[in-house]
């Protein structure tokens, strides 16, 4: 992503805010929504906008699970790792995705097609184990279903 793109994107985000410290987390969320992750240049821009040290922005962003610092894959696969899913075999589902995609959870494939993640409870425990791909949710996922899910996207 070029610096100009980042500048334009940030400008759109900042237009909605006053630049107060308590807006930092919503600004980071909007920035991530815009770019898909938090590019370094964008975080520097945010620090300048709110007039706080860059370390503060970085410190807050790294504290929260939601924020990413590298480009994500086109399809984001989130395997629910809540208790109900764990008890019903989420670990095996994660391992199957890892094997099929050739990456570990938390990583993105080299072609930027897929990112794989374990996420905290998505709150659909009755359908455990649950896998979320983009906005589509799959319930009662057994390792045998993994290939089918990947082929759909």
């Amino acid at each position: 992503m070029s610096e100009i793109d980042i500048e334009v994107g940030l400008k759109n985000v900042f237009a909605r805010y006053k630049g107060a410290t308590n807006e930092l987390i919503p600004i980071l969320q909007d920035t991530q929504e815009t770019f898909g992750y938090l590019p370094e240049e964008a975080m520097k821009g945010i620090a300048a906008f709110i007039r706080i040290p860059e370390s503060h922005v970085y410190g807050v962003a790294t504290f929260y699970e939601q924020f990413y610092f590298t480009r994500r894959g086109k399809h984001e696969i989130k395997v629910c790792y809540g208790t109900a899913c764990h008890v019903k075999g989420a670990t095996r589902v994660v391992e199957t995705f890892e094997r099929e995609l050739g990456i570990s959870h938390g990583e993105t494939t080299e072609d930027y097609e897929y990112s794989l993640e374990r996420v905290a409870c998505v709150g659909a425990c009755a359908l455990a184990p649950v896998v979320v791909v983009g906005k589509k949710v799959y319930g009662n996922v057994a390792p045998g279903k993994v290939k089918g899910i990947l082929n759909k996207d």
């Binding site: 807006e23 208790t83 008890v87 199957t96 425990c125 057994a142 045998g144």
Partner: protein
């Protein structure tokens, strides 16, 4: 419409009631997260299409113009019975349909509107094979007592007029017209309600202390940072009945003199955020929120703050730091109470979603009514997300004080077929695993703490003999290690060390001295940590050591995982007496080609190639079930002699 005075609400309620009466019959499609995942919105669209085809106006606005319609369709919040979704309710008969798909809709419409019958095959099937027609007849519901969930599944959460029609915002009007702030606090105190976030601090005491504290402006915060894995109660209330929470918060604002409110919602709950945004906008339009509420001159605004994913933010001081735009780290001890020094160092009243959800009913039905439910020091009802290896998963509400057995077997319908109950986990990463012997224990704040568990926010995960208790303890510790804010050493370093020991045990490197060390470490972390996260993090380990010690010992001494779960201790075996031989499904499915078969021979698993993924068991047809897992001595025999038995 605007509510211009507390008395005026009665008039508006009648208008809303009349309007909805003009819709003679209607289909309510559950639009909770679980059902939406199952295709509820497509089902809704199909109902709409079919009714419009018949020329019935389905647009709610038309009823307000005085038009009548034969039938309509609407959405509702979560019914709680997510496992059977998508759910559809037909009013006024109350017919309750489960697993409804788009292709079923035409049949339901014809049966309901033309032939006055029901679609038998979509009704809930009881264990004896009979069918329940209404929701109330389904055992899952008939054993519950729904208070805070009463409206979830019965009203459209995206239409304030439905909430008003069933008596909503009357409690708020009463608080303006009948009670002083002190009297409101007195009502809350007398109801005996304790905070529903998990720790159970008396709400009345908290409210009184927020009222007494000096500093302006004051804040009211609704804690919807439901981070416990395996819990989704708060989400369902926010999605299914958002106005009850807004009303409860506004009443709290009157009682404490607050000017601003925040609802802190987890980022993982996009539907709850959308519903809240709609509810807040509608409440402002009706003047039951915002400036000059009900013409009384009282101002109160509510903002939504989306959390960014940090379990520790459920702790009040951490949540406040997060709203202020910092890392969500709890304040160090000794810390002042949030009711005195909260957001921007101003007095802040912080309660859980459900606590606020109960408030309107406590005001209108009286504190004595609330206190009559439950037990003496644990009044009211409790909401649990009942999940895991259980027949009826979903959201339940029960009076405090009923037993675990009633919850799991009467409401939950017992354990999934062919398995036996082993343990129930309550309170998530802060709670504990309770064994069979404690099934007849009462469920309330104090009893749970006395056996080493915790109410928590209300997750209840049922486990059977296929669940390894050591692995469950490891799972929770892994969670806490990730979520520890890292501020204090007992929690940051201690939980990390405990996790390492648990990993050693589950991976075959356990030592006999490990168990004592785990206990020692656990007790030190409970004592030494500065916030609730650390204080309770060792609970899953300590409670499973207390009730399931033999399972830890089997891992360490006998190289055995009795639950057949931990990979290091198990091996897969194809029983030649059960295998049908020619199907080869397992062979085709095996991702590492570990299954080989000579012509007309039973396939065999090459143990050195097997990665123990279990796919072969999944694909082996049910009428053979030839593949089994073995552990302990049987596994050693298998590795040495090629079969689990010695002979």
């Amino acid at each position: 419409m605007q509510v211009s005075s507390p008395d005026h609400l009665v008039e508006i309620r009648e208008i809303c009631k009349d309007a909805f009466k003009r819709q003679k019959r209607r289909f309510l499609v559950c639009a909770g997260t679980g059902c939406v995942l199952g295709g509820a919105m497509e089902v809704y669209d199909e109902f709409k299409r079919l009714l419009e085809e018949r020329g019935y106006p389905v647009d709610v606005e038309l009823f307000f113009e005085g038009q009548e319609t034969e039938a309509g369709v609407g959405i509702s919040g979560c019914h709680g019975f997510c496992q059977k979704g998508p759910l559809v309710r037909f009013e006024p008969k109350g017919v309750f349909y489960t697993h409804v798909q788009v292709k079923d809709v035409a049949e339901i419409v014809t049966a309901s509107l033309d032939t006055d019958t029901v679609v038998e095959r979509l009704l809930y099937e009881n264990q004896d094979g009979s069918r329940s027609v209404t929701e109330e007849e389904v055992p899952f519901y008939s054993n519950q007592q729904r208070v805070v969930l009463a409206h979830c599944g019965h009203i459209n959460p995206e239409d304030i007029r439905e909430y008003i029609a069933i008596g909503g915002y009357q409690a708020l009007a009463d608080c303006f017209a009948k009670y002083t702030p002190e009297e409101i606090i007195d009502i809350v105190t007398r109801s005996g309600i304790r905070g529903r976030g998990g720790a159970g601090f008396p709400a009345g005491v908290k409210w009184a202390s927020a009222r007494k504290a000096s500093g302006e402006p004051k804040y009211v915060v609704c804690n919807g940072d439901e981070g416990d894995p395996g819990a989704f109660m708060d989400r369902s209330v926010l999605e299914g009945d958002p106005h009850s929470v807004l009303e409860g918060m506004t009443i709290a604002a009157i009682a404490t003199g607050a000017r601003y409110g925040y609802i802190y919602v987890r980022a993982e709950y996009p539907l709850a955020v959308d519903r809240l945004k709609i509810a807040i906008a509608q409440a402002k339009e009706y003047k039951v929120l915002g400036d000059d509420i009900m013409g009384t001159g009282f101002n109160f605004d509510i903002y939504i703050f989306q959390g960014a994913g940090a379990f520790v933010c459920g702790e009040s001081t951490a949540l406040v730091r997060s709203i202020e735009g910092f890392r969500g780290m709890p304040k160090v001890l000794p810390r002042p109470r949030t009711t005195e020094v909260g957001i921007n160092d101003k007095p802040t009243l912080l309660n859980n979603v459900k606590t606020f959800g109960y408030i309107p009913q406590i005001i209108t039905r009286g504190p004595e009514w609330f206190a009559s439910m439950g037990t003496k020091n644990n009044t009211g009802t409790a909401v649990f997300a009942l999940t895991g290896k259980i027949i009826n998963s979903g959201l339940i509400e029960i009076p405090m004080g009923i037993t675990l057995r009633e919850i799991i077997f009467d409401i939950g319908g017992g354990i999934t077929a062919g398995q036996e109950f082993k343990a129930v986990q309550t309170g998530g990463p802060s709670g504990g695993c309770l064994p069979n012997e404690l099934l007849d224990m009462q469920v309330d704040y104090d009893s749970l703490v006395s056996v080493g568990a915790m109410m928590g926010s209300g997750g209840m995960v049922v486990m059977d003999h296929g669940t390894c208790m050591v692995d469950v303890a490891r799972y929770f510790l892994e969670f806490t290690v990730n979520e520890s804010c890292g501020q204090c050493a007992p929690c940051r370093v201690g939980t990390h060390q405990m996790l390492k020991i648990l990993e050693d045990i589950t991976q075959g490197r356990g030592k006999p001295s490990d168990l004592d060390l785990l206990e020692e470490l656990g007790k030190a972390i409970v004592k030494g940590s500065i916030c609730g996260l650390g204080n309770t993090a060792p609970n899953p380990v300590l409670s499973s050591l207390r009730y399931f010690r033999s399972e830890y010992e089997a891992h360490i001494h006998a190289q055995s995982c009795p639950a057949l779960y931990c990979k290091e201790f198990i091996a897969y075996y194809i029983n030649p007496n059960k295998c049908c031989e020619p199907c080869h499904l397992c062979q085709e499915a095996c991702p590492t080609n570990a299954i080989t078969a000579r012509w007309r021979k039973t396939p065999e698993i090459q143990q050195d190639k097997c990665i123990k993924c279990g796919i072969c068991i999944d694909v082996c047809p049910d009428n053979y079930r030839a593949i089994t897992k073995v552990t302990g001595q049987q596994r050693l025999n298998l590795l040495e002699f090629g079969r689990p038995g010695r002979s």
